[in-house]
Each structure stands twice: as structure tokens, then as C-alpha cells.
């Protein structure tokens, strides 16, 4: 029963894609949209039903599994289309389908006038299906399949308005950058198969921890470290971490619901999911964990700095997403797996809320995205305004909004850790929190208060968004307010999410050693510190941008502002040091291909041509000749039978 429901969870979105694809001519747009929404809502409800059944904490990781069909079989390899719903994937599935449903509903309004309405929902449902495959897949290949599937959908949706060359380019960029990460993932997968002889995730992790217990894989084992690092390369690509984060801001070229769903709430957290899924590997590889923590902290910091001066409302949120993802990796790196997952959930709430709110603003202003040309929208967009306001509080991490609890959990684990690394990344995170609060309220002030700086076209069509768009905003806002209750600080002894996930990370924590419980007053003190930092940042921005952008309006020509305005010149550096050499290599390879390889091929072709010229004499077109030869063959056969 539960198995069948589990299968339904993943099959429904794909079935919906098939229905919409094959019936796209006859299906009315409205009905297609409703089908798409239903195809996300039903899996959500099913997940709730099935997920309730796995809550029991047994020594084994509680899970529901189902095998749809056998897939790859050959040699020692046996991979099935198997699904596995355990606490971790259940959490993710709920986020994906829950937030996904809200965003689908929102899209009904947002994409209402778009000629590609039906296409949009096909892609969206395909994305949901792929994401579920990624999360629910019980084997690495299926995970990889979903991984690539969401990548494809991301590409399709970034370039949704592909008539515009820039959008199409952004899609390509996302795709190519992701490939680099995927290569890492693929290599990791091969190494895992070589090491463990299976690709079943549960088997791999359990055999690793069992092997460690038997002394087979000591702490810091080279092979395990390498696998963990390669996995992290893949996660970097998908989750936009430091060297590979350049695609995410460009991905904002897609429709805003896409940004909310894929590039903030769900797909980009796939990297987190993967690292969390293989937490045992990272626990056994301190070096890899350190790399994760450092990269996460640096990404959080650098992205936040860039977000400080962005003018595009969506770009600010995009860099903020990178930054928050950095937090999550920081958490994973310092061993705060539960806290990282918690942050994924709350971040999904408030970042989806912020993106959708931004979308509502953009929608209202007839696709104006430049925050410098907004201002004073508060009275015009009341519902959008207060939900966005809530989102800002949550993102900035102000008590008692959701972001506060999750962020604080990560920072607490980092700052209170031992050794030189943990406090270092913790401090970086604290500075980032300051900047986060600053740019969040800068954005709020620029958009909703101060003098109106709209151009005439935007002002003419100014209107509050329809209910299909504001209703999801309200729901997400409520979630952003109360979401923190899922996992209160340790001293409150109320940790719903943490308890739920405990069996998943039990083995990893057993390897790394359970974190010591800190004294209540230390934790409270830390909280107060971070709250003070955050409120300080918010206050600073609140005052500074009370009257619009002020001195930020003219483009800076030098100094740090110049660097930040141009995003640390990362794209340009890539152009010179990565793309340039590649172009040269490609040119060389092209030359080789055209003259050497083609020369050989053409030579062979000419040889065949020559042979053909001789054989052609035999084909004179007269049936009788052929018949004669044919009969000669027949006679030969008959005679040879004699």
C-alpha cells in the first residue's frame, strides 16, 4: 500500500507531463494549468500520508522503499528504478512539492498572459518529477538521472523566453557550468562503484560505516576523502558555490516563479541534499569537510558583498541565495547536518516568498526589475508589501522569524566548535549576517519606501497582483514567521526536525563524535550577539536608504564600490583565464579535425569511391543481368547440396 503510494508520488508528475504534452493542442490553457497544479499537490498529500508511517525511530534508518522496474543490469551491476522515502528525502519531498505547489498556483497568475503558458507548465511539472527522482531515488544512477533532469529543466526554464539571445545564453551558461560539477559527481559515482561494488545509496553508506567500524576505512582515508571532494565538486556546480557560482545570478533571466522554485527553493539545494545524503563520507574525511566549510563561508561572504550594490531586484536575491547556500555548506562542513537541512527548509520558505514578492512587484511594474527605478510602492501593493516585509525579516534572521533559528543554529555550531577552523568560518558567517541584514533592508527601502522613481510606462499599469499570486505569498509569509518552530534551540528541548532526521545522521555523527552540548547561557549569549549584529545591519540600511538610493545611484568609478558593482570581475576573470585558453585549444583541435581527421576520412571515402566506380560496371540496370547472377548463385547452392 505505502509502496504503491510512493510510486504514485513520482509517477503523477511524469504522467501529468505526458498528458499535457500529448494533449497540448486540445487541452485548454486553464485546464492544463490546473492539471499541473494538481500533479504537484497530490504528491505532496501522498508524501504526508506515506511520511507519517516512517516516523518510528528504530535502530535501522526508517524508510519506505519501492521498486518500480529493473533498469540497468549487467556484470556485477544491478540498478533498479527503486524509490526510498526516509526522513531526509521526506523532508525534501515535502519542501519540493509543498513550495512547488504554491509556486505553481502563483504561476497561474504570473504567466497568465504568456503565449508559452502550456509549455511553462510542462517544464515545471517535468522539473518537479525530476527533482522527486533525485530526492527519492535509492541508487546513484537514479539520483544522477534526476540531477541531470533538473539541470535540463533549469536550462529550459532559464531560456524560457529564448527569443531573446541573452536569455538563451544564460541558459547555456547554467548548463555548461553545471556540467563541470556533474563531471565531479560522475567520477565520484564511478569511484563509489569501484570501492563498494554497488550503487545503492543505503548499502553504500551502511557498508562505509560498517567498514569504518571494522577499521577498513580509517578517519581521513585518502580514497574516501577523494570521493567526498568529488561529490562536493558536483554539489558546488548544482548549488552555485564559489568557483562555479557564476551561473546562478544569470539564471534570473527565467520567469520569476522559476527563480523562486528552481533557483532558490529546491534545485539549488540538491547539492546540500547530496552532501547530507553522503554525510558519512564527509564525516570520515575531515579535510573534505574543512574544504566544504571554507568554500561555504567564502561563498557566503563574497556573494553577500556583491549583493550589497546590486541594482536588479532579482540579482540581489540571487546573490543572497548563493550566500545562504554558502551558509548551508558551512553548516555541513562543521558537521551541523541537521542545522543545514533546517536552514534549507526555512530558506525555501522565505526565499520563495521574497522571489515571489519580487515577481509580484515586477509583474505590477510591467517587467521593470531595476530597484533604482522603484520606490514608494508600499501603498500601491499592500499585500505584496507586507509579505515581502516578513520575508526580509526572515532573511535577515531577526527573532522570531524562521531565518533566525536556522542561521543561528549553524553559526552557533561553527563558533563554538574547537580548533582554528570553526571559529574562523563562524566569524566569516557573522560578518555575512551583518551584510545580509544590510542588503535585505536596502532592497526593501529602495523598492517600497522613499520617493517614487517609476517611469511613465510602469506607473500606468501599476496594480496589485491577483489572488492566485498573493495567496501563495500569504501562505509563505505565515510559514516564514512560524517556520522556526520546527527546530528550536537546544535548550528549549523542542526539536521536531532534528529528532525526525536524527537516524539519518546518526552514523555520521557517531564517526565524527557527537557535538558537545553547550551551556544554556553560552548559547543565549551567542544568540544575542548575532541578533545585535543583524539588527545593527538592518538599522544602518534602514536609515541610509530612507530617501532612496542616495549616493548609490551614480555608477562608481573606482575603489571597493567599483569592484562590488562589477561583481569582483569574476565573469571577466573567467573570460580571460578559462574561456580564452579553451578557445585557443578549440581552435587547435578544430584545425586538427579539419585537416588531419577529415583528411583521413576523405581519403577513405575517395578510396571507396574508386572501388565503387569499378563495381558500378556490374550494376547496368538490366533486370536480366541481376537475375542471371542470382540464378547462378541459386544453381551453385543447389549443386552444393547435391
Amino acid at each position: 500500500m505505502q509502496e504503491n503510494l510512493l510510486e504514485l508520488i513520482i509517477l503523477i508528475p511524469f504522467a501529468s507531463v505526458a498528458v499535457q504534452y500529448f494533449l497540448h493542442r486540445v487541452l485548454p490553457a486553464r485546464l492544463a494549468g490546473l492539471i499541473a497544479c494538481g500533479a504537484v499537490l497530490v504528491p505532496f498529500l501522498l508524501t504526508v500520508v506515506v511520511g507519517r508511517g516512517i516516523g518510528s525511530a528504530a535502530p535501522q534508518v526508517p524508510a519506505v522503499t519501492a521498486t518500480i522496474a529493473s533498469w540497468l543490469t549487467g556484470g556485477g551491476l544491478e540498478v533498479a528504478f527503486g524509490l526510498r522515502l526516509d526522513p531526509l528525502s521526506c523532508a525534501w519531498t515535502l519542501v519540493v512539492t509543498g513550495i512547488g505547489f504554491l509556486i505553481h498556483v502563483y504561476s497561474l497568475g504570473y504567466m497568465h498572459h504568456d503565449p508559452g503558458f502550456k509549455r511553462f507548465f510542462i517544464y515545471m511539472n517535468l522539473f518537479i518529477g525530476s527533482m522527486l527522482a533525485l530526492v527519492l531515488g535509492d541508487s546513484l544512477p537514479l539520483l544522477f538521472l534526476g540531477w541531470e533532469g533538473v539541470g535540463l529543466c533549469s536550462y529550459l526554464l532559464i531560456g524560457f523566453w529564448f527569443e531573446d539571445m541573452d536569455n538563451a545564453r544564460a541558459g547555456q551558461k547554467a548548463f555548461v557550468v553545471n556540467r563541470i560539477g556533474d563531471l565531479g559527481f560522475l567520477l565520484a559515482m564511478l569511484m563509489i562503484f569501484q570501492t563498494f561494488g554497488t550503487l545503492d545509496i543505503a548499502t553504500v553508506t551502511s557498508s562505509l560505516s560498517a567498514g569504518h567500524a571494522q577499521g577498513l576505512y580509517p578517519l581521513g582515508d585518502g580514497r574516501i576523502t577523494l570521493i567526498a571532494l568529488l561529490l562536493f565538486v558536483g554539489a558546488c556546480g548544482k548549488s552555485a558555490q564559489l568557483p562555479l557560482f557564476v551561473w546562478l545570478p544569470d539564471a534570473m533571466a527565467g520567469p520569476t516563479p522559476v527563480s523562486a522554485l528552481i533557483h532558490a527553493a529546491t534545485m539549488v539545494t540538491a547539492g546540500i541534499y547530496m552532501v547530507a545524503r553522503f554525510s558519512v563520507f564527509f564525516a570520515l574525511a575531515p579535510v573534505a569537510s574543512a574544504v566544504v566549510a571554507i568554500v561555504g563561508a567564502l561563498t557566503a561572504f563574497v556573494s553577500a558583498t556583491i549583493a550589497l550594490r546590486q541594482r536588479d531586484i532579482k540579482k540581489v536575491l540571487a546573490y543572497s541565495t548563493c550566500s545562504q547556500l554558502g551558509y548551508m555548506f558551512l553548516g555541513l562542513g562543521v558537521g551541523a547536518y541537521g542545522a543545514a537541512v533546517f536552514h534549507v527548509v526555512t530558506h525555501a520558505f522565505f526565499k520563495a516568498l521574497l522571489f515571489l514578492g519580487a515577481g509580484s512587484v515586477i509583474h505590477a511594474l510591467s517587467h521593470e526589475q531595476n530597484a533604482m527605478k522603484m520606490g514608494g510602492l508600499k501603498p500601491h501593493l499592500p499585500r505584496t508589501h507586507w509579505t515581502f516585509f516578513v520575508g526580509c525579516f526572515a532573511l535577515a534572521g531577526i527573532f522570531p522569524f524562521a531565518g533566525f533559528f536556522s542561521k543561528d543554529k549553524i553559526l552557533g555550531e561553527a563558533l563554538l566548535g574547537h580548533g582554528w577552523l570553526f571559529p574562523l568560518v563562524g566569524v566569516l558567517g557573522l560578518i555575512t549576517a551583518l551584510m545580509t541584514a544590510f542588503y535585505t533592508f536596502r532592497l526593501y527601502r529602495l523598492v517600497f519606501t522613499g520617493p517614487e522613481r517609476l517611469d511613465d510606462h510602469a506607473r500606468a499599469h501599476l496594480h496589485e497582483s491577483p489572488a492566485t499570486m498573493t495567496l501563495p505569498l500569504v501562505i509563505l509569509a505565515l510559514l516564514s514567521i512560524v517556520g522556526g518552530a520546527l527546530s528550536l534551540p537546544a535548550f528549549a528541548h523542542f526539536d521536531l526536525l532534528g529528532d525526525y532526521l536524527r537516524p539519518i545522521f546518526a552514523s555520521a555523527l557517531a564517526v565524527a563524535g557527537e557535538h558537545a552540548h553547550h551551556a544554556v547561557n553560552v548559547e543565549v549569549a551567542l544568540m544575542l550577539v548575532s541578533l545585535a549584529v543583524v539588527i545593527g545591519g538592518a538599522w544602518w540600511a534602514w536609515n541610509r536608504f530612507a530617501e532612496g538610493p542616495g549616493d548609490q545611484l551614480p555608477l562608481p568609478q573606482s575603489g571597493l564600490p567599483f569592484l562590488l558593482e562589477n561583481k569582483w570581475f569574476v565573469d571577466e576573470i573567467y573570460a580571460i583565464f578559462v574561456i580564452g585558453p579553451m578557445r585557443g585549444t578549440a581552435l587547435l583541435a578544430g584545425f586538427f579535425d579539419r585537416y588531419v581527421i577529415d583528411g583521413i576520412v576523405n581519403g577513405l571515402a575517395r578510396l571507396c569511391d574508386l572501388c565503387g566506380a569499378f563495381v558500378r560496371l556490374l550494376q547496368n540496370g538490366a533486370v536480366h543481368t541481376y537475375a542471371l547472377l542470382f540464378l547462378a548463385g541459386a544453381v551453385y547452392l543447389v549443386c552444393s547440396l547435391l
Binding site: A622, V623, H624, A627, L631
Partner: protein, 100 residues
């Protein structure tokens, strides 16, 4: 006593005559008829052999082959008509170029 071998001999002769007709005649239609002749001789062998095993089964085989022959003749004659319209001849030795 008439045995299978006698039928084989008759079928062989018919087959050889069919082959002869196909090779010697220039008229596409007559060539086609020769092909039918060969097909018939093959059927004869089939049915005669089936007597030693399962006549119903052999007849069923032959029946399918008759159906195939019917389809083949239909298509073949249609092609010959189209060819005649194009070239105004049914002489196989004049029809040597695929290009119309």
C-alpha cells in the same frame, strides 16, 4: 505408387521453366508470370512434403504464401502500370534507368 519424390520432380520442372521464362522473356508481364510459376512450384513442394508431417499445417503455410503472392501481384502490376505510363514500354531491357 505416387510418392513425394514425383511431386518434387514436377515442382523442379515447373521451377526451372519459371526461371527460364524469367531469363529469356523481355516482357515484364511475362517475367512476372514466370515468377508466379516458381512460387507455385515452391508451394507444391511445401504441400507435398507436408503429407509426411501435418497436412493442415503445410496447407496453412501454403495459404499464407498464396496471400503473399496475391499482395505481391497487386503491387507488382501497379508498378508495371506506372512504369508503362512513364516509359511506354514493358520491355525489361529498355527499362534500365531508375531515374524517370
Amino acid at each position: 505408387m505416387i510418392t513425394v519424390v514425383d511431386y518434387y520432380v514436377v515442382a523442379s520442372i515447373l521451377f526451372a521453366i519459371g526461371a527460364l521464362g524469367f531469363l529469356l522473356r523481355k516482357n515484364v508481364l511475362v517475367m512476372f508470370m514466370s515468377v508466379e510459376l516458381m512460387l507455385n512450384s515452391a508451394n507444391l513442394v511445401l504441400v507435398a512434403s507436408a503429407k509426411s508431417f501435418d497436412l493442415a499445417r503445410g496447407s496453412a503455410f501454403a495459404l499464407v504464401s498464396v496471400a503473399v503472392a496475391a499482395a505481391e501481384v497487386g503491387v507488382g502490376l501497379a508498378i508495371i502500370i506506372a512504369l508503362f505510363r512513364l516509359k511506354a514500354t514493358v520491355d525489361a531491357e529498355e527499362i534500365t534507368n531508375l531515374r524517370g
